[in-house]
Subunit: 213 residues, 2 copies
Amino acid sequence: MSVIRLLVLGAVRQHGRAHGYQVRNDLEYWGAHEWSNAKPGSIYHALKQMAKQGLLVAHETAPSTAGGPPRTEYEVTEQGTEEYFRLLREALTSYDQKPDVLSAGLGLMVDLEREEALALLERRLASIEEWRKAVTEYYVPENGPGELGHIGEIMDFWVHSADTGAAWTRGLVARIRGGAYTFAGEGEPFVGVLAEGEENPYATRQPHPGDAE
Amino acid sequence: MSVIRLLVLGAVRQHGRAHGYQVRNDLEYWGAHEWSNAKPGSIYHALKQMAKQGLLVAHETAPSTAGGPPRTEYEVTEQGTEEYFRLLREALTSYDQKPDVLSAGLGLMVDLEREEALALLERRLASIEEWRKAVTEYYVPENGPGELGHIGEIMDFWVHSADTGAAWTRGLVARIRGGAYTFAGEGEPFVGVLAEGEENPYATRQPHPGDAE
DNA sequence: GCGACGCTAGTCAAGTTTGACTAATGAAGG
DNA sequence: CCTTCATTAGTCAAACTTGACTAGCGTCGC
């Protein structure tokens, strides 16, 4: 699963209706350009593609209020909402060792109810455990480890990552169970997007000047 | 940087001369299909592209000895060797939080001399430290953390990953400094590729049957 | 003696990602 | 005024990735 679709659906959904540039700014607000491949090209592509597939509807809109080419606003369809929750649940559950996917899941988890988020994270812990068992059983050669030479370090690195990742997840579960954060259906939700015209307080040092990394 | 080029260059270089299917098998031997995007399509694409760019030379070869279409053998050029070491050094040094790149670097690090590998890993530690300082200084809002709401968990996750990653790297440095493994110029190198016809002892449960994940 | 199956060695189209480029507006400076 | 510059909003070609497909050859069973 590519993380872009999840992020874009999450951003559009929180606005109700949003154009590409707004999504782009939200993702920067979330810091997503630092930990995922959220670049303008990918974002606009995802919007168009998902519109073509019926996950979003595109409303043609008049030339923008503040310079630049005319902008298109998007809205999430029912089908898109389904897909959004499918992706979100998968992001929180599966241990496919892609940290950007988990990060996106963390940013959007409050769209779920507290109990469900907890259940998904527990499932995640179980699947890490399962992965660990499969790998260590499978890759330990007859004559003990070390027979693999330095190649064994790769496995050791992955196992270490899995273990520390699991430990961190257990901490998160404890915080959520202890009442942290506001989940779906618990009153005033946390505002995770920028209003039209609002400035990003966590903008990168050099805000995209003509883009180019 | 995409990890595929590094892996493919490393594999071809160890053979001296190799065709695509051989590279594909080596990467499976290394377990790369588990922790990177090393799929047939990507591998063959990388071979062709790098041949076009002069990093590899392609030798047309007669139809294979054991069925299948005629195969092309590749060899690393001088330019390709330069690029290989550039990529390898970068993989070991930079903390761009992509674990597959580090994994590839670990698998190929013995192509460097021990002292250089150690120096690169120390640089890696320094750059993790630097990243950590920048992020924590920059992202902590005036009114303390927690103002970010659940979004703060994303940062916490990344900082935790950086810290545990650094700890693991320090362990690796200690092992290498303690004399583990055989690096370049230290006699008989570890055999990291499969000879023609040799079977992969760590093959996945179901060896690629018609491919398809 | 032939048909099914698996292995060898790839190709290909569709989709995605990248990095650089464009074009319109408005504000600031001289 | 008029040039320069940042901001808004997005396009585009080239490269890369993905998953499914192809085709030759051996061999095993019956």
